[in-house]
């Protein structure tokens, strides 16, 4: 293969039918792969009449044209489905080894439909594709399942769910390669609803570049910039993603105790520096990645595993008022084994803590209660006691107890580790996120804090919409290729375009890619409009719009969302209600969604 394998594997778990269908090359050119291809296929397969946890929903696993090419960070893959947490379109992607291995089986995508009568797994190897019994694995954790299915780093790779997915927890993740995660939005629950425990892949095919000389040159140039960037060559390898903990805290944008404050007094105790100094055993890299940001850690009790990443350290740390790094790290391990999204889990526990402190939830929970984390996480995965409410995510939890405004979520997806009152552009990113509040779909940490590509005023609003839109489009195309966003800290889209050209033999410019990003973003928007979402959903929790930050460098600020949103719709060529105009759809070759606009 040169870029695309040209095949889609289509499996119906209800009937047991296994089919290989050709990849539509025009579709591939327009949407590339990964998140883009997933969204395009989902548009046709899952309409507004489909309940997310019903057999009619589908799971679509996708790789991109550069996957498995050995271009730096070309290991990632995507899953697309309708989210049981948000009801929106959902995409989630992950690194590790599974994505590369799946591509080597000779498929660009795997569509899983229907529901098996009893627990099953799918095995894709050079010997063929088979649906196998997995009853003996049902109820087991991710770690045990991965070992039982003989995970073998670069030869045989396991993707599976834990008990959380089996129990249809709305914040359940799909895990791969033991501790990597397709985390957000509850894709694990969709997999559980299909009685699908695992997908095991072994592949032999190679993604060989069409232009080997140009590919070699791009490898060299990309490697040079990754080595030259202090972020990708020093900060991330040395301290992991939590390197930004102290940075975000210092500017007053680290949400604390369910976003009641924006600075955490214990930030240094849960920072990347502290992780490196106290619990780090070694670094680890995903396939074909020189950055090595993964932390292999060990706590005082002798437990060992991956993490915590910045977001996880924040979610069980500042968000819950906890500065006990061992407790946070073990909470992270526990979520990995049970198959839970750490951001939503920690954020939801923080919400429960505030509900309890305000007397709205009859429980002795409170901020700082590190001792309660293991029990709450376990009970969530198994839907026991209060865990049955936590398993619904923070919005449904807070609504049940009469205070939906205490859920720090957008479109019911829990916010990640940035207080947008101290980063106005980030507020617009969260409010307009197609899968809800998300830092992976246009993170403004780059321009508003890290000076990537240039430092802009984090409190300014004029002109922000354009920068947010470009970052959203860029993230969408990176997720469609599929690359890692950290590579983008050192190399820009012009590198991705030239590498894609070398791999596929088809010419792409940087702006061709940016147009793909805009196309993907707009299609996702249309999907949500078709589901009944509207301008009213492009908003933030009331706390962030009306409660000024009480102290610190962001003191007195709320998010000035309305003017940014108006500018955003105008920039994107959408009308005042946030609906893409017909001429914009035509420009993006999205005429097939026109009926949604006209309705």
């Amino acid at each position: 293969m040169q870029g695309w394998a040209g095949n889609i594997l289509d499996i119906n778990l209800t009937s047991g039918q296994i089919e290989t269908v050709p990849l539509d090359r025009d579709m591939a050119r327009l949407f590339l792969g990964g998140r883009g291809l997933g969204a395009r296929l989902l548009w046709d397969l899952v309409g507004p009449e489909v309940e997310p946890l019903s057999p009619e929903n589908v799971l679509i696993f996708t790789t991109g044209p550069i996957t498995a090419s050995a271009s730096q960070t070309s290991n990632r893959f995507n899953v697309s489905t309708k989210s049981p947490l948000t009801g929106t379109i959902l995409h989630a992607n992950s690194g590790g080894w599974w994505g590369m291995q799946f591509k080597r089986t000779g498929y660009d995508a795997l569509i899983v439909r229907g529901k098996a009568a009893s627990p099953v797994m799918i095995e894709i190897t050079p010997a063929g594709v088979a649906i196998k019994d997995a009853a003996h694995l049902w109820g087991k954790g991710v770690f045990e399942t991965t070992v039982a299915l003989e995970q073998n780093r670069n030869k045989r790779n396991v993707l599976c769910i834990g008990p959380a997915g089996e129990n249809r927890v709305r914040i359940a993740a799909i895990m791969n390669d033991k501790e990597r995660s397709l985390a957000r939005g509850g894709a694990g629950a969709v997999m559980g609803s299909k009685n699908l425990k695992a997908i095991v892949v072994e592949g032999l095919e190679k993604n060989k570049p069409a232009d080997p000389d140009q590919f070699k040159f791009m490898l060299y140039e990309t490697g040079k910039l990754l080595k030259a960037s202090p972020l990708t060559s020093q900060a991330l390898p040395e301290f992991g993603t939590a390197v930004v903990m102290n940075v975000v805290n210092e500017i007053g944008a680290l949400p604390t105790r369910n976003f009641q404050q924006s600075q955490f007094e214990g930030a240094d105790k849960i920072s990347g520096e502290e992780i490196t100094d106290t619990i780090l055993v070694k670094n680890q890299a995903c396939w074909a990645c020189p950055i090595t940001c993964t932390r292999i850690t060990q706590t005082k009790s002798g437990k060992e595993g991956e993490g915590p990443e910045f977001e996880s350290a924040w979610a069980f740390g500042a968000q819950c008022g906890i500065d006990d790094l061992d407790a946070i790290t073990e909470a992270n391990y526990q979520c990995n084994d049970l198959g839970l999204d750490t951001i939503s889990m920690g954020n939801t526990i923080g919400c429960a803590m505030e509900l309890a402190e305000r007397g709205l939830l009859a429980n002795d929970l409170g901020f700082g209660r590190a001792d309660r984390l293991p029990g709450l996480i376990h009970d969530t995965a198994f839907r026991q006691g209060i865990g049955d409410d936590l398993a619904e995510g923070s919005y449904r939890l807070a609504s049940k107890h009469g205070a939906p405004e205490l859920s720090m979520s957008v479109k019911k997806l829990e916010l990640p580790a940035y207080d947008p009152r101290g980063m106005q552009g980030q507020g617009l990113v969260f409010a307009t996120g197609n899968r809800g509040a998300c830092h992976e779909t246009g993170n403004m940490l780059g321009p508003e804090v890290l000076a990537l590509p240039r430092l802009i005023d984090r409190f300014a609003t004029q002109g922000k919409a354009g920068i947010v839109s470009v970052h959203q489009n860029s993230a969408a195309v990176i997720d469609s290729l599929v690359y890692c966003k950290f590579a983008n800290m050192a190399v820009a889209e012009e590198f991705f375009a030239r590498t894609l050209t070398a791999v596929t033999g088809e010419h792409f410019t940087a702006d061709d890619l940016m147009m793909v990003g805009e196309r993907v973003w707009t299609l996702e928007r249309l999907y949500n409009l078709r589901e009944g979402f509207s301008k009213e959903d492009d908003t933030l929790p009331a706390r962030l719009l009306h409660e000024p930050v009480p102290a610190g460098p962001s003191e007195g600020f709320t998010v000035k969302l309305a003017p940014m949103l108006e500018e955003y719709y105008a920039f994107r060529g959408w009308d005042k209600n946030g609906v893409p105009k017909p001429e914009k759809l035509k420009e993006l070759s999205l005429e097939f969604v026109m009926e949604v606009v006209h309705d």
């Binding site: 000389d213 802009i456 300014a460 012009e494 940087a510 702006d511 920039f571």
Partner: protein
Amino acid sequence: MIDQRLYEEFRDIGRDIFVTGLTSSHGGNMSVRVGDKIIIKRRGAQFGRLKHSDFVVTNFQGKDSGIVRASTELIVHRAIYEKTSALAIVHAHPRTAIVLSLSRDEIIPIDNEGSYLLRKIPVVTVELASGSKEMAEKVSEALRGYKIIMQRGHGCFAIGQTLEEAYHWVSALEEVSDIILEHKLLGEEMIEYRKHSESYAKW
């Protein structure tokens, strides 16, 4: 329409472009995209002395009487915003780069910094050199693959997410060009120190 923060960015970068000799007193122009509008320097305003009144807010596309005051090159700026993901544009007249553009179809840096930042700057030829449709088309098309390009004998167009970013490419281009010219004047053979440098021509 133009807020104080954005005005100060225009003013400071305009002054820097002029004092570093990247354009003459009244030559060149710059703009940013805000929503579906373009904020562009008015025609004839001095780069080094920009005032609040020196800006025109005009529609992203088409009919707008604001064009009577806008820069001659507005048509080019519009085309660039339409065809690329640029959020800011700087057009200047860096003299050494113009000299090189008179005899080359591309400027390939020989210094380390310029190689990292730019790799190659294509040179496009336009018969009607100011504010023409031909110019808008050729310049915007070239910028789909590059962040800065030269128009032969005229000047450069650079794009970025901010004015500062676009200005950086202009400043880097002139440094690159000075080094090429001075090395050529020195007349000594270059000792290549960059692996795969022959591939920059294909960038």
